[in-house]
Symmetry: C2
């Protein structure tokens, strides 16, 4: 089916090349479509890599292999297949991934373990080895391309290509960080897995890059939800080519560690929010902010309980400041809360304070806020210092149409 572009889409940004990163795409024709669907990104020798992966107990072979590969901390290439998730395909699926790793390893004269592979698309069908082989061969000899070409080649059901960039100053050196991402439901008609890739010219020790990515993930990718569903293939990889001229960042005491960490988190947040902006059927981008929770993790769980509540999401779709549903979602989160200390605000205007509706509550400005595309929902639990923000979208007829009315 052809989907209309999300009303929350952002234009593709200007993104600089990253020294040590070469982008290529090709047509493997994993589906009967006329577009590039195989991406091959070569990274320079000495590139550090880190990754975070789905916690699904039924992960794909790509994820199983990737979890092992990142332990070495070294990468030379990334291959992304779009159109076939190669999930739930047993040993044949695994063989297909290993064949790609070997082919690219041979071509680049590197250990196959330094070739990372991701796949997204239909499941239950092993990745066709012949199409993959021909596609990789074509990509190896293709002209280099731009970030937007890559962002377009990795999508499946996304309605717009997603990229982001930022930078960090370390002494006199300006470190560039860029990223591309795909995903629209946590999973969609064709397994719209979230796959995100970050590239930087920074010189970062692999173990510290992993620490920073894990930390950034906790505040960004782990704080978005479209429908609470989790793909069997979700993956975010970060590659650091060490081409920028600065002392290596090896731990928190290294010069520039804080600046780089902040930039990496900022980039992850931008990328994560782009996925929400392409949430299936989304008409509103919702920020749920929790304060006063027992601790930060408790705040995140309460925020996700609200962000995943079909009743909260439909209320916002209906532009209804239904704080009763927010109370319900807080109550079901299974986290410490006290009904009589709870306060709830839409767009900065308190609807309920300390467990009671606000006496002379003026609904007009709240109704105006809810008519917009950017919704702010704040909940103060009043029992501690824990804080968290999560991002989600509303639940509309569009979501049902995409997921029920069409056959995948």
């Amino acid at each position: 089916m052809d989907l209309e572009k999300s009303p929350l889409a952002l234009p593709f940004p200007e993104m600089p090349p990253i020294d040590g990163v070469t982008l290529r795409v090709a047509r493997a024709r994993y589906k009967d479509w006329d577009r590039a669907d195989l991406t091959l990104i070569e990274v320079a020798e000495g590139t550090a890599v880190a990754g975070v992966f789905t916690q699904s107990a039924c992960a794909s072979s790509e994820v199983e292999l990737g979890r092992e590969q990142v332990k070495s901390g070294s990468a030379r290439a990334l291959v992304v297949n779009a159109g076939n998730a190669n999930a739930f395909t047993g040993y044949r699926g695994r063989e297909a991934v290993e064949a790609i790793m070997a082919q690219v390893g041979d071509a680049l004269d590197c250990p196959s373990e330094q070739v990372f592979v991701s796949s997204t698309g239909v499941i239950g069908v092993p990745l066709p080895k012949d199409k993959a082989r021909d596609g990789v061969a074509a990509a190896l000899t293709a002209e280099p391309c731009r970030w937007e070409d890559v962002a377009s080649a990795i999508v499946t059901t996304d309605t717009f290509a997603k990229g982001a960039q930022t930078s960090a100053m370390v002494g006199d050196a300006r470190l560039e960080l860029v990223g591309v991402i795909k995903g629209s439901g946590m999973i969609a008609p064709d397994m719209a897995t979230m796959l995100g890739y970050i590239f930087t010219d920074a010189d970062v020790a692999p173990a510290f890059l992993q620490e920073l990515l894990t930390q950034a993930n906790a505040e960004t990718f782990s704080c978005i939800t479209v429908d609470g569903d989790t793909s069997t293939s979700d993956t975010v990889l970060a590659f650091a080519t060490a081409k920028a001229d600065h002392p290596p960042i090896e731990n928190w005491d290294s010069p520039g560690a804080d600046a780089f960490a902040a930039a990496l988190t900022d980039l992850c947040r931008q990328l994560a929010q782009l996925v929400v902006r392409d949430g299936e059927g989304a008409s509103k981008f919702i920020t749920v902010r929790i304060s006063g929770a027992a601790n930060d993790e408790s705040a995140r769980r309460v925020a996700l309980a609200i962000a995943n509540s079909p009743l909260v999401k439909t209320a916002i779709a209906g532009e209804d400041a239904n704080w009763g549903r927010v109370v319900m979602a807080v109550g079901k989160a299974g986290e410490p809360a006290d009904r009589d200390k709870l306060s709830i605000a839409f767009g900065g205007i308190w609807a309920a304070r300390n467990g009671l509706p606000v006496e002379d509550y003026d609904e007009a400005p709240v109704a105006e806020h809810l008519k917009g595309q950017e919704i702010d929902l704040a909940v103060e639990l009043g029992i501690g210092e824990g804080r968290a923000s999560v991002w989600t979208c509303d639940l509309t007829h569009g979501y049902i149409s995409i997921n029920a009315d069409y056959r995948s």
Copy 2:
């Protein structure tokens, strides 16, 4: 709004009177409607009571009080208010409940603690004391009525009145068990809380009645879901009047304990399934059966992850045997699972076995099954002996219409 009767509705059954139980309803006019909305049920002296309540951290005053009241094990009356949930109303809400308890206690000459109160409807508005007082006064002098009148007086957004009955033989004595219930989402535009009430003429010790109800709840009410949302007021109470002529059932060694326990569980299952049958927008009743899990509780969690997955629920609404979404839901449940041992069947026909799509899978009979109103989805995890069944409904445009398109 007026909702059409659920296509999954069942007719109201023949239900016998229960010795020691007197039913009355009245018009408190909690909303601007022309119907009975206050129920007063008097139970004989010596009636044992047990209850299970929402685990919400933001429960209503009625629930807070009820949790305390059941500890005494004795009841004389039940009052149910429909149209106002009295939730998130602070001390004024609590005062309104205590006033009802005192008024009924005076009239029946019993301690007010033996008067149980439930309320369902809009939240954030304290139950109006004057309407409650006049309604209770009217109910106290009303003519006794039938079960169907009670089942109709306790509803809010339900599209049909819900009742069930069963019986158990203990020696020569036939014990009658009946129940009424209301609820359609776990929570709905007007807080469509689940409230269930069970009455029996059995003579059961309060502590044992509580044990049996807790156990039955784990297999029935705790195994249904419409949207994964949980009301702040969910309540199930069981009243046993001890009017039947049989030796008291005091523990598992008492004659008839097994028969009574089985009947109670059967009644709870019937009532629980009626709520799913009135699930907002439901067009299909779905049974999710898990086998081969690490243990029974793990099986229940996997089953609920599937039953709560918007992508599984929309796939079934679309009559799509999308077992990939079932794999995804199993993977995200956070319970032990092995992708390569997983098998999935629709309507008894295996679509995937041991982590692979079935080779010569014939979709035609599965497609036929999915066109029906009663859907059976079975998942064999292949790692243990744990089993569970849960019941849910599909996710349709109707759910969005009820919860987003209309203002509550």
